[in-house]
């Protein structure tokens, strides 16, 4: 009997203790939540007033922009590498080469006979090859811009190929040198007079030259060069690459100064 009474007392005590403990926990939780709320408000207020949030947001934006920029740069570089890889390798049978064919550095130029900047760049490239002591060879490829120089640039490109066919590599370069020397550029060349005149001056058989010009047999070759120029990223003339022996390619757009081309040649020479 007393055991049952004792048990009831103990049970009631336990319930009381548990209830009190629960009440205490609830009070503490409420106090903690209020404290957390106050701390949060204070921290946010402090951060707001000190400008830390603004700075953090700014830093986040800056990091995002930087990431985007780096990705864009990488994309651009991959594209450039792809374009450079599209450049047709130099072959002695196919290409017009000036200088030592075994030279470690190569200047590949896509050029238009009616472009005044190509005329200017022709002298720059010639001077560099002459001064390079066999370290630089110059490859000339056709890039007539029909949109700018309709009817003439392409015919002149074909004429230079005819010169090469009849007189060999030397005749090609004689033709190019003399053409740029003689003509005013910008589609003002009187091709009916100038082309036979140059052919005669450089010692080509004039009738063979004329029939070659009319045959259209080099049209395809010129078209292939134009296609190569565009595939490698060319958007205007002169469009060039300075290529090291190891194959590193530096693209160069326009008739840039002698100093620039020389520095690029020296840089490419170091890459061998």
């Amino acid at each position: 009997m007393w055991i049952a009474g004792f048990s009831r007392v103990v049970l009631a005590g336990l319930i009381l203790i548990a209830t009190a403990a629960n009440a205490q926990t609830a009070d503490r939780n409420a106090a903690d939540a209020a404290l957390v709320g106050r701390v949060k408000d204070t921290v946010i207020k402090e951060l707001g007033e000190s400008g830390a949030i603004d700075r953090a947001v700014d830093a986040g934006i800056a990091r995002y922009i930087e990431r985007q920029r780096a990705e864009a740069e990488q994309r651009e570089r991959r594209e450039a590498d792809k374009r450079a890889a599209a450049l047709r390798p130099v072959t002695k049978g196919r290409d017009h080469i000036r200088g030592d064919a075994a030279a470690p550095v190569t200047l590949i130029e896509y050029s238009d006979f009616e472009c005044p900047f190509c005329k200017r760049f022709h002298l720059t490239a010639k001077r560099l090859v002459d001064e390079s002591k066999g370290q630089l060879k110059w490859v000339y490829r056709q890039f007539p811009l029909d949109e700018l120089h309709p009817g003439k640039a392409r015919k002149e490109a074909v004429a230079s190929e005819c010169a090469a066919e009849i007189g060999g590599n030397g005749a090609f370069w004689k033709f190019a040198d003399r053409f740029f020397e003689l003509t005013p550029s910008n589609n003002r060349t009187d091709i009916d007079t100038v082309l036979p005149q140059i052919a005669g001056e450089i010692g080509l058989d004039k009738s063979r030259f004329a029939s070659c010009l009319d045959s259209g047999k080099h049209d395809q070759r010129v078209a292939e060069d134009v296609k190569d120029a565009v595939a490698s990223g060319g958007q205007g003339t002169p469009w060039s690459f300075i290529v090291s022996k190891s194959g590193k390619k530096y693209p160069l757009s326009g008739a840039q100064p002698y100093e620039t081309v020389k520095q690029l040649f020296e840089l490419a020479l170091e890459k061998k």
Binding site: E147, G236, Y250
Partner: protein
Amino acid sequence: MNLRIAFGQVFAHPSYAILAGLLAILAFLLAVWFPNFGLIGEVFAESTTPLSTALGIALSLLGGIATNFSLLSAGYTIAIAILFGLTTAMIVFVVKRRRIAAVGQSIAIGSGAAASGVLGIGCAACGSLILGVVLPFLGAAGALAALPLQGEEFGILSVVLLFVSLLLTSRGIAQSIACPLVGAPTADTANSV
């Protein structure tokens, strides 16, 4: 007259003179380096290329203004850079004083001038930019040959537009300091009170 007053107002503050100078230099660098951004990126990104070499190449490319531009295109490229610097600094001056409405037209014309300038500078060398990007997009590549200056007209147009924009901005600045506030008491009305 407006131009002189506005110049006096704006460039009396050295910060605006510096801003105009920096913007002009930036525009010039962009114009001359534009065809060779790829090359510049290449030489600077290459870890084996000494910084001095990369800088030397970038600086030497500035000589392109003499070799890769005609006399006309070099002239308008420099003029565009200077006018762009001046106009933008003056627009910033006005905007900072919260009088954007006064230069709204100038900003619109200036934007047109910038677009035309890009085309003009793109036409400086044989075909660059114009040939490769803009004209095929517009379907008008052949039209370039029909222009008497083969696209350099865009550069000249840009100079004219920038100059108009500069004049309008100047007028906005000069008139804002010359005109009395509407409804404000004049000397007569003030005396009569």
